[in-house]
């Protein structure tokens, strides 16, 4: 998919979320759906499998998100899958989140954590990143148990890894 088309879909998702008046919730749900697909290759492959009828792929989306996400979010995901771009949904969602943050004069910061962060932690983390890098960031938390503990923050191409997993890796490397 060319970047122009990817940006177009991202802009479309943002526009729908804004039109529904629930940009924050819908963007957050879409972001979580994108991360869930990125961590589940089989599901991503199923949604992008052209041998499956589109109706069936959309049915899978509705079954998965029916009660866990808003109807708008489910409809938007179903729409992307219906256009045949379900395989690139994580990229579209990333582009949507980055574009949404940019619209709010922020930089997207993807934070991986084993537990959900409190709003206070999110605020303090944003302030800490701003004091460290000078950039206003918009925190998007991704629940990832493989982190074990601590946080992994991705800001663009920069990664700040303070996870227990990294320390275990360092320990393993030191043994090696």
């Amino acid at each position: 998919m060319p970047d122009e088309r990817l940006d177009g879909y991202a802009e479309a998702l943002l526009a729908v979320a804004a039109a529904e008046g629930r940009s924050t919730v819908i963007e957050d749900e879409l972001f979580r759906v994108g991360e869930a697909l990125r961590q589940n290759d089989e599901l991503l492959a199923a949604l992008s499998d052209s041998r499956l009828p589109i109706e069936k792929r959309q049915g899978v989306v509705e079954d998965l998100l029916g009660e866990k996400a808003s109807a708008v979010t489910t409809a938007l995901v179903s729409m992307v899958v219906g256009t045949g771009h379900g395989g690139r949904l994580p990229e579209i969602v990333d582009a949507m989140a980055a574009r949404g943050a940019a619209d709010r004069d922020r930089v997207l910061a993807k934070v991986r954590s084993a537990i959900e962060l409190t709003e206070d932690q999110k605020t303090r983390l944003a302030q800490a990143i701003k004091s460290s890098t000078g950039a206003d960031v918009e925190i998007r938390v991704i629940i990832d148990e493989s982190v074990l503990g601590g946080l992994v923050t991705e800001i663009g191409d920069d990664v700040i890894d303070g996870s227990v997993r990294r320390r275990q890796s360092q320990l393993r490397e030191n043994f090696g």
Binding site: A114, Q121, R124, A128, S132, G149, Q168, L171, R172, G176
Partner: protein, 241 residues
């Protein structure tokens, strides 16, 4: 040559026969004792008329002369000197025979001898030439034999040198292969040792890290998780992350 000699011998034989029948022997033409004495009596009768006259004293010397003549007739001929007529006939025959032989026989014999000598010389020359040729052939064979021996020796020497070279190459190749095998074996041993050490380290790391993970997981309750998050936020704020 042999025919010429035979012809000459035949001519000599013929001449001898002619001379033998043509010549009168001295005994045939010469006087016998009786005729000699009879001739002497005839001479006495011619001189004195009758033989009785000699008995007379005045003819005593004539009688003595007659007796001497008779004694001469009785005397035997010389065993050495032939009669003159024999000498004449024999000499003539000899001269004729000698002349004939000088005229015919000697040239024939001389030609035969010359031919014989020439043949012997030619045979000697041929023998000498054959000897020379044989010597040349012998020398040539000896030269070839020497050349063949030298060539054989050279071939043997070359073969020995080639064999030595091949042996050296084989030895060098074997040494090189042995060195390579040793190097490979050493490398294999080192690789195996390194792999064993690495595997052991991996096992130890797995055990240690696994134990650590179990300890960490058992201790990572919600409060600990939040404490870790707070510590991370503080580190980022301090710029130590």
């Amino acid at each position: 040559m042999t025919a010429t000699i035979r012809r000459a011998a035949g001519a000599f034989g013929l001449i001898g026969v002619l001379l033998a029948f043509g010549a009168v022997p001295a005994s045939a033409v010469g006087e016998t004792i009786g005729t000699c004495m009879f001739d002497e009596l005839l001479e006495v009768e011619e001189e004195f008329g009758k033989l009785k006259e000699l008995k007379k004293p005045e003819h005593k010397e004539d009688l003595l002369a007659l007796e001497e003549d008779w004694e001469k007739c009785v005397e035997a001929p010389s065993p050495i000197l032939p009669e003159p007529d024999e000498i004449i006939w024999g000499g003539a025959a000899f001269l004729i025979l000698f002349g004939f032989m000088w005229w015919k026989g000697f040239p024939a014999v001389q030609r035969a001898m010359q031919a014989r000598s020439e043949k012997i010389a030619a045979d000697l020359d041929a023998a000498e030439q054959a000897k020379t040729e044989a010597a040349s052939v012998l020398a040539d064979h000896e030269a070839r034999l020497a050349g063949a021996k030298a060539e054989a020796a050279q071939i043997v020497e070359d073969a020995r040198a080639q064999a030595d070279l091949v042996a050296e190459e084989i030895q060098a190749r074997a040494n090189e292969e042995v060195a390579q095998m040793r190097a490979r074996a050493a490398a294999d041993i080192e690789s195996a040792r390194s792999q064993a050490v690495s595997d052991l380290r991996g096992v130890v790391a797995d055990i240690a890290v696994g134990a650590a993970e179990r300890v960490i997981k058992s201790n990572l309750d919600v409060d600990t998780q939040r404490a870790l998050v707070d510590a991370y936020i503080d580190e980022v704020a301090d710029g130590n992350a």
